[in-house]
């Protein structure tokens, strides 16, 4: 498959967590790999903006399969990560505000249990005990003890150890190689586009749209939280296609800091803080966790998720091309699913069988029924 006259077997465009994971997997499979990026450092795109929650999710069977597979790979990697990667198996706690959301807790519990994922159903008192800073009177919650958090830029850097980096903006990528804005070009046996929300610039036909998010980080309050906590209403808001939405989502960092999210906005392309939505987001957080109001926030920022119509990533050959691959469209789960993505992509490129079916993420799938 790969011709010796090429400078590299594979060139990846993108040094975020997805590009880094794919590069590592391909290099470990014995290929000569290079990674290009146009940021001032690796892991600087959405990877630096994201929360780093490594979650198993069940919006769809395919989402479950990829997040679950990926999470097992994260736990394998965990032992090799440096302290800067701030990996912590804090688990997730989904909180249910009312009986309707409690019904969702039971549904999820059954779904996960049936697939071998450990979960605990907590009642109102159980939630209060697990997270004393949550407001009283919540209906209950679901704990996923194997969920984790990490600091993705440091993981990307670690995954890229020993891999050749090429700095510059790629203006064209074909089956044979890439060309930088400077005019410089490199040949390769295959090219992978792992450019996150920037994918449309290089592959305009693929249905990836940026979805903006806001986050706020606090000063250090060690012990304030035990789990990453997410409201179950998140499912409703993350699904709503076009309307702006916010959801309570808070994460304990290894540093003792709290990371407060989250918001979703489609059709916005500037990175400025949107005060109205940030306020809604923080108000939502304070509704669930009133004590947050008295903690100091030190920095707010925004980032862009690469969203797709069916909320599943694009992993595999770019439709209509040979040797030109895509690994993008990971929306709010690219950190979680990066390692699984890398396996599936390498399997596809090398003709290996995969641990889970690859078809649901095939970029040539039909998106029509979601339009």
């Amino acid at each position: 498959m790969f011709d010796a006259i090429h400078s590299f077997d594979v060139i990846l465009v993108g040094a975020g967590i997805v590009g880094a994971a794919c590069a590592r997997e391909l290099a470990d499979s014995g290929l000569k790999v290079a990674v290009c990026h146009d940021s001032d450092t690796v892991g600087a795109g959405a990877t630096a903006a994201g929360m780093g929650h490594i979650a198993v999710m069940d919006d769809s069977d395919a989402q479950f399969a990829l997040t679950n597979y990926s999470q097992s790979l994260w736990w394998e990697l965990a032992g090799t990560l440096p302290p800067e990667a701030e990996f912590a198996g804090c688990g997730s706690l989904w909180v249910a505000a009312d009986d309707e959301e409690m019904a969702e807790v039971h549904r999820k519990s059954e779904y996960y249990s049936a697939r071998g994922v450990a979960v605990d159903v907590l009642d109102s008192g159980g939630v209060a005990k697990a997270e004393p800073n949550l407001r009283r009177g919540l209906a209950g919650g679901l704990r996923l003890p194997a969920d984790a958090v990490s600091y993705a830029p440091a993981v990307a850097r670690k995954l890229l150890t020993g891999i050749q980096l090429l700095r510059g903006r790629v203006v064209s990528a074909t089956s044979d190689g890439i060309e930088f804005a400077s005019g410089e070009s490199y040949f390769a046996g295959a090219v992978v586009l792992a450019t996150g929300a920037d994918l449309p610039r290089l592959a305009p036909e693929l249905p990836v749209r940026p979805r903006k998010g806001h986050l706020l980080i606090t000063d250090r309050y060690p012990g304030y939280l035990n789990h990453q906590i997410i409201e179950l209403g998140y499912l409703k808001s993350a699904h709503s296609e076009d309307a702006d939405s916010v959801a309570f989502n808070v994460q304990p960092r290894v540093t003792g800091q709290l990371l407060i999210g989250s918001s979703r906005q489609l059709g916005v392309d500037h990175a400025d803080i949107d005060h109205a939505i940030l306020r809604r987001m923080l108000a939502r957080a304070v509704e669930y966790m009133p004590g947050l109001a008295s903690l100091n926030g030190i920095r707010a920022w925004t980032g862009f998720r690469a969203s797709t119509p069916d909320n599943l990533p694009l992993i595999g050959l770019r439709p209509g091309h040979r040797s030109l691959y895509v690994a993008s469209g990971h929306e709010g789960l690219g950190i979680s699913t990066s390692l699984g993505t890398a396996k599936l992509l390498a399997d596809a490129m090398l003709g290996r069988p995969s641990a889970i079916p690859r078809e649901p993420y095939d970029p040539s799938r039909s998106f029509n029924h979601h339009a």
Binding site: T41, A44, E84, P153, A154, V286, L292, N296, I298, R299
Partner: protein, 384 residues
């Protein structure tokens, strides 16, 4: 309504200019009283007295922590609550914090910024009988030494890194100029008997848990000097965060230098905010002269290259996140360092380490993001 943030020389001058034009003005300052860094403890100072005589509303003891330029609104926070303040025009006159440059031991208790120690002493820290070394660069060292001495400190030495060959021509150029800040050079009276050592700098601060002695490079020879406090000053740098976050057509920035320049810039900003552009323009030549003069000070007291070599691999660069110099090796820019070492990610958001990194590596700071200062989550929700 015109809102002025900062009640230092620049803010006071701006507010008085606005009032002179007959427009309504309110001043906000996080300190309990007007005066800024230089006149805070001096309510009788001419400008502070004028400010008070004109009854200009001062919202004191509250900090501007956030703002929305498109909505022309500031978010103010104090110890207990928060509120919003709307404006038509905003003057940002928040002054210039001190620059810290790292050397081994600079984080020991007992080592202070020169201006910071002065401020602490003004607000009650006793220094009577204490041995103090004042070091670094610039005329501010003299002002600080004089004021500490007045409070009974035993000033062992003023170590000025600039070589004498540059200082004397500069001092000569000063005679005849009525610069307040640089009356410092003429502080000879207050400073009589204190050794003044040009071409000298602190290479390390040492002590067991707190400062006990310093190592000085005195014109090429290393000597130790016992002391209780070390006041180090490497100049000031305008605070740019609020100005950057509030940037827009209704925001005017003032106060980038010493008190004289800040007064001028403040007046210009005040007239501009009030719409009297003619008066504002009339002051520009004088301001430009003051800026030229300030630039010549900066050139004379430029920090020498040797000071880049002082920090060793264990010297802390980022105090908030405990990042030593050794961890920054191989990093290519501020963002690279930030994302991969946490340098500049802590509560001060690079305010302290930013100038040090610029000096050591030529890196420029990361983009400012709100809040401007750590702010309670609840403050960002306030409606009223």
């Amino acid at each position: 309504m015109i809102v002025v943030v900062g009640a230092g020389p620049a803010g006071i001058a701006a507010a008085l200019a606005v009032q002179e034009c007959g427009k309504a003005v309110t001043v906000v300052d996080e300190n309990p009283s007007a005066g800024g860094q230089i006149w805070r403890g001096d309510p009788t100072h001419r400008w502070v007295a004028r400010f008070r005589a004109f009854n200009i509303p001062l919202i004191s003891g509250v900090r501007v922590v956030w703002g929305y330029p498109a909505a022309r609104t500031l978010v103010l926070e104090d110890a207990v609550g928060a509120r919003r303040l709307a404006y038509d025009k905003l003057v940002v006159a928040v002054g210039s914090p001190e620059i810290f440059l790292p050397f081994p031991g600079w984080t020991l208790p007992g080592v202070f910024g020169a201006g910071g120690l002065q401020a602490l002493v003004k607000s009650g820290l006793p220094v009577r009988g204490k041995n103090v070394v004042v070091a670094g660069t610039g005329p501010l060292l003299l002002a600080v030494a004089a004021s500490l001495r007045k409070k009974g400190a035993n000033i062992r030495l003023i170590a000025e890194q600039t070589p004498a060959a540059l200082l004397w021509p500069f001092a000569k150029q000063l005679s005849g100029r009525a610069s307040k800040l640089l009356q410092g050079i003429g502080l000879a009276w207050d400073l009589a008997g204190i050794p003044y050592a040009p071409a000298s700098w602190v290479t390390a601060a040492q002590g067991d848990g707190r400062l006990q002695r310093i190592v000085l490079n005195r014109r090429g020879t290393l000597v130790t000097e016992d002391c209780d406090y070390l006041a180090v000053g490497f100049g000031l740098r305008p605070a740019t965060e609020l100005a950057a976050i509030m940037a827009g057509p209704d925001t005017i920035v003032a106060g980038t230098g010493d008190a004289d320049l800040s007064l001028l810039e403040g007046r210009i900003a005040g007239y501009t905010a009030a719409g009297d552009l003619e008066k504002a323009r009339g002051l520009e030549p004088e301001r430009d002269q003051a800026r030229t003069f300030a630039a010549s000070i900066d050139r004379t007291f430029a920090v020498r290259d040797e000071l880049r070599q002082l920090a060793d691999s264990g010297t802390i660069i980022c105090r908030c996140e405990d990042v030593p110099l050794g961890r920054l090796e191989g990093k290519t820019c501020f963002r690279d360092a930030k994302l991969h070492t946490r340098c500049g990610m802590g509560a001060c958001q690079g305010r302290v380490c930013g100038p040090a990194l610029e000096f050591l590596f030529g890196w420029h700071g990361a983009s400012p993001r709100p809040p401007i200062f750590p702010a309670r989550v609840g403050s960002l929700l306030s409606e009223g």
